[in-house]
């Protein structure tokens, strides 16, 4: 008999105007020791299923019909007090962001002991011993010292281990892991997934792994359920669903996943649900100033770039300590190419981008753009000209647009700042831009919160293109987006590069994406560049150990269906 069965579950959120059905007659079951993947895009209802099982639906959400059974006993609709007894004891949950899911003001020991005693009772000494064993089991070295530390003293991966220890501390039957590795680096992600797999086997726990990452699904689940708009569209063993998807949505979803092994000319768009929006790059190209991509000389020459951040303040210079974020980095970017920078978080890749953009002053070294020294921020005339030519697209489309400004003001701002046009022309130009990125010229009257993540990233692109730059810096432009939206945005960036002759610096931790986008790639580690290579060469024969290690940890995705993909 299954450990956890969900039958015909429907979850509704009544709002003032209408009834929103978040989950629509979904069914799935989990066996002991099985990892069951639940995949879909944001808004598909996968997290709502998790919350429903935990009895933690946000008000006014409610289970309208269907049943949830745990070990044959119905747990949906039982009273709040009984549900609280089950939570943490029989069913546990692991959240997405380990940085925020631990209370910052209590030590790890306090949080563990509290939970153990709530459910198992017992003396404090027993709870302490159990806490120590758990911390040891989840692979945190030196458990005796670590137990008495506060969450901020742990790294992201270590914190997620603490969260797992907390979820495990009362021997639950089922664990719901909601995007447990999305906030982590590739190498840490692999370790955490291994730990979850191991523990599921060892303790015969059923795991529901909620994720939007097909790589995670392919690598670590036994069975998978695909959701779209609240409905289960396909369910089966992982090999079967990934290898021979039956449903049209699953097929298009799998097709949109960037592959590490196969370079495509364009990403296939998700055709299911008719969400594709036009991007009029041809229109744009007609009015774009002709750029002469002279390939004899690099566009950027970056030499011995160094950035230090003050780590410890001190009145006296010798009291201060610095953290070297970027250490003596040199590379060239040629006109017309997409230059990738990859590395784990903290490797200094964003710092390099910000120095090139002039957001951080350089502490050492030089940046030359078209033969002109641009790392000296005090030269106003050079800076003005330079900044018109470079624009940046940021990672988080939610925080990179001012929520109090209308979209047309946001897009017009760079034009106004550089005094490129006067009033009436600006308006026409902004409308054109918004139309060209596929938002329609009416979008200018709205505010950023009225748009989805993908649409906001289009606004960012329109803003970046407003000054008709030669060079775009894209700092993880798609890592906050769903796979299908990511495909759209990456296609747009590719079009821009091809049709407008733009040069790009593309920063990402996602190797398959880099493989699709970039001509050359620099691999960064602890502030230094360890390897610069042609993309195909790097993926085929990495020269350094670190690069091959990164490649090894990357989800393989070999079993994924390749229907509808054509190499480019």
């Amino acid at each position: 008999m299954s450990l956890l069965t969900i039958q015909d579950l429907t979850v509704e959120f009544p709002t003032r105007r209408q009834l929103f059905t978040a989950v629509d007659h979904a069914s799935l079951s989990v066996e002991p020791g099985e990892i069951h993947g639940l995949v879909g895009e944001s808004g598909a209802g996968k997290s709502t299923i998790g919350a429903a099982v935990m009895g933690l639906l946000e008000r006014p959400g409610r289970i309208a019909s269907g049943q949830i059974k745990l070990g044959g006993e119905q747990i949906s609709g039982i009273d709040a007090e009984a549900m609280r007894g089950l939570r943490g004891k029989k069913i546990s949950m692991i959240f997405q962001d380990p940085l925020t899911s631990l209370n910052p003001l209590f030590t790890v020991r306090e949080q563990l002991v509290e939970t153990i005693q709530t459910h198992l009772g017992g003396t404090e000494a027993e709870a302490n011993k159990r806490a120590r064993d758990l911390i040891d089991r989840v692979g945190i070295p030196d458990p005796d010292t670590r137990l008495d530390q506060y969450p901020h003293q742990f790294s992201g991966g270590m914190r997620q281990r603490v969260v797992i220890a907390l979820a495990l501390c009362t021997e639950p039957d089922v664990i719901i892991a909601d995007e447990p590795t999305t906030a982590l680096d590739v190498s840490v992600q692999a370790q955490i997934l291994d730990l979850i797999k191991e523990l599921a086997q060892e303790r015969q726990v059923g795991v529901i792994l909620i994720t939007h990452d097909m790589g995670v699904i392919a690598d670590s689940t036994d069975r998978v359920t695909v959701m779209y708009a609240g409905k289960v569209v396909e369910s089966g063993t992982t090999a079967q669903v990934m290898g021979q998807p039956q449903h049209k949505y699953t097929k298009s979803l799998i097709a949109a996943v960037p592959r590490p092994t196969l370079k495509l000319h364009r990403f296939p768009q998700i055709s299911y649900g008719g969400r594709e929006t036009r991007f009029a790059v041809d229109d744009m190209a007609r009015h774009w100033p002709k750029v002469d991509n002279d390939t004899s000389k690099p566009l950027f020459e970056i030499r011995n770039l160094t950035k230090k951040f003050l780590q410890k303040r001190g009145l006296l210079p010798w009291d201060r300590t610095y953290f070297t974020a970027v250490d003596n980095v040199s590379f060239d970017i040629h006109a017309g190419e997409v230059f990738g920078v990859v590395g784990e978080s903290g490797s200094g890749k964003s710092t390099v981008a910000r120095m090139i953009a002039g957001l951080y002053p350089v502490d050492g070294g030089t940046i030359d753009f078209q033969g002109q020294r641009v790392s000296d921020l005090s030269n106003r005339s050079v800076q003005d000209e330079y900044r018109k030519n470079i624009q940046m697209i940021f990672q988080d489309p939610y925080s990179s647009l001012n929520p109090r400004m209308r979209v047309d003001e946001i897009v017009a701002e760079p034009i106004r700042h550089h005094r490129l046009m006067d009033g009436a022309h600006i308006k026409r130009r902004v409308d054109e831009l918004l139309d060209q990125v596929g938002l329609g010229s009416g979008a200018g009257q709205k505010y950023p919160h009225e748009f989805s993540g993908g649409q906001r990233q289009r606004i960012s692109i329109a803003r970046a293109l407003a000054t008709q730059p030669r060079f775009l810096i894209c700092d993880e432009p798609t890592s906050a987006l769903d796979v299908s939206i990511q495909a759209q945005i990456l296609n747009i960036l590719k079009d821009l590069q091809e049709h407008l002759g733009l040069t790009m610096l593309f920063i990402s931790h996602d190797l398959p994406v880099v493989r699709q986008m970039c001509d050359r790639v620099a691999v960064m580690k602890q502030g230094q560049i360890v390897e610069v290579q042609e993309t195909s060469e790097l993926f085929a024969n990495p020269k350094t150990e670190y690069a091959s290690e990164l490649l090894r940890l990357m989800p393989k995705l070999d079993d994924l269906s390749t229907d509808g993909l054509e190499a480019g």
Partner: protein
């Protein structure tokens, strides 16, 4: 930690010096003390003589330097009006203000936090909404109006509580306290409420909004998912996190309870330093004004230091930094 305290002390001294400088540069605009000090039958010679005697003919910077010179030796000069040393007068008056401030501060903090937590947890409840509406009145009515209103209701109409003064006081050493007599305690009630009401509603609204924010945080959701009881989640996990930002504002508010007791003390004729200061302004009693302003700045600076130290006590994230500095 030690280095931190030393550095803060150093900064505090600079703040105090600047406050004093600004204060002294303003004094000559308050009026001429000589006018009040000499009677009708004064001659120009008397005026000149007194002016030289008090050092008022010198530039304010020199006056300030002289004041500082005395102050570091504990000598704040002699009051022009009362003819007694300022330090004696302040010592006499301080207990009244400090007792009043202590009671109203205590009321504001305990009631403010309790009501704030209550209204945050029972966000939809009727009681919470009533409290929130009433608290708007507390925030928007000026202090003197509340004072007069309370006097009207409880002293004039109901004749329950005294409308002015401290009642009977008992001397303990140099400290005159109203805590030990029935009339002293009764006299405290109305002024304490008047003085603390604004701070209380402010703290309450602050705690409420902060608490609502914290209750939405991931670690509270995770605590729920671990099956901890509501009591533990609300009062252990959420409340402690709520207090971190609340402490700053609350600390500064407590400072202003003492500093701005002036209005309440005037309304209730409370014999504290606030009332002393008001009278000093009318009489252009420069030594008293100077000493009072310095006293208030010392207090604000101290409260700020305590607030910073409290941060370290509550938030472990800062403790690590402190060790590094």
């Amino acid at each position: 930690m030690f280095a931190f305290i030393v550095r803060r002390m150093f900064q505090s001294i600079i703040v105090l010096l600047v406050v004093g400088l600004v204060a002294f540069s303003m004094f000559r605009f308050v009026g001429d003390p000589i006018d009040n000090m000499l009677g009708q039958e004064r001659t120009q010679a008397d005026i000149d003589r007194l002016r030289t005697e008090l050092g008022l003919d010198q530039p304010f910077v020199v006056q300030y330097a002289k004041f500082l010179q005395g102050a570091v030796q504990g000598n704040f000069g002699v009051s022009y009006r009362q003819g007694r040393p300022v330090s004696t007068i302040l010592l006499e008056r301080a207990p009244a203000t400090l007792e009043l401030a202590f009671v109203s501060g205590f009321l504001a903090i305990t009631m403010g936090i309790a009501l704030g937590v209550f209204t945050a947890i029972r966000r939809q409840g009727i009681a919470a909404n009533v409290i929130m509406t009433v608290s708007l009145i507390g925030v928007s009515l000026p202090t003197f109006l509340i004072g007069i209103l309370l006097i009207y209701i409880f002293s004039v109409e109901l004749d329950l509580l005294p409308s002015f003064g401290r009642g009977e006081t008992v001397m303990i050493g140099h400290w005159s306290t109203g805590f030990l007599t029935a009339s002293g305690l009764k006299a405290l009630i109305l002024p304490a409420i008047t003085l603390g009401l604004y701070q209380m509603t402010l703290i309450m609204r602050l705690v409420r909004s902060e608490m609502l924010e914290v209750l939405r945080a991931d670690y509270v959701r995770f605590a729920r998912a671990r099956g901890l009881s509501d009591r533990v989640i609300n009062f252990r996990h959420a409340l402690k996190n709520t207090l971190v930002p609340v402490i700053t504002i609350t600390g500064l508010q407590l400072g202003s309870i003492i500093a701005f007791a002036i209005i309440t003390e005037t309304v209730f004729q409370w014999p504290g330093v606030g009332l002393l200061f008001i009278n000093a302004i009318q009489f252009v009693d420069i030594p008293v004004m100077a000493a009072y302003l310095m006293l208030i700045s010392v207090m604000f600076v101290t409260i700020n230091l305590i607030v910073d130290l409290l941060y370290y006590a509550i938030d472990p994230r800062l403790r690590v930094d402190a060790r590094a500095t």
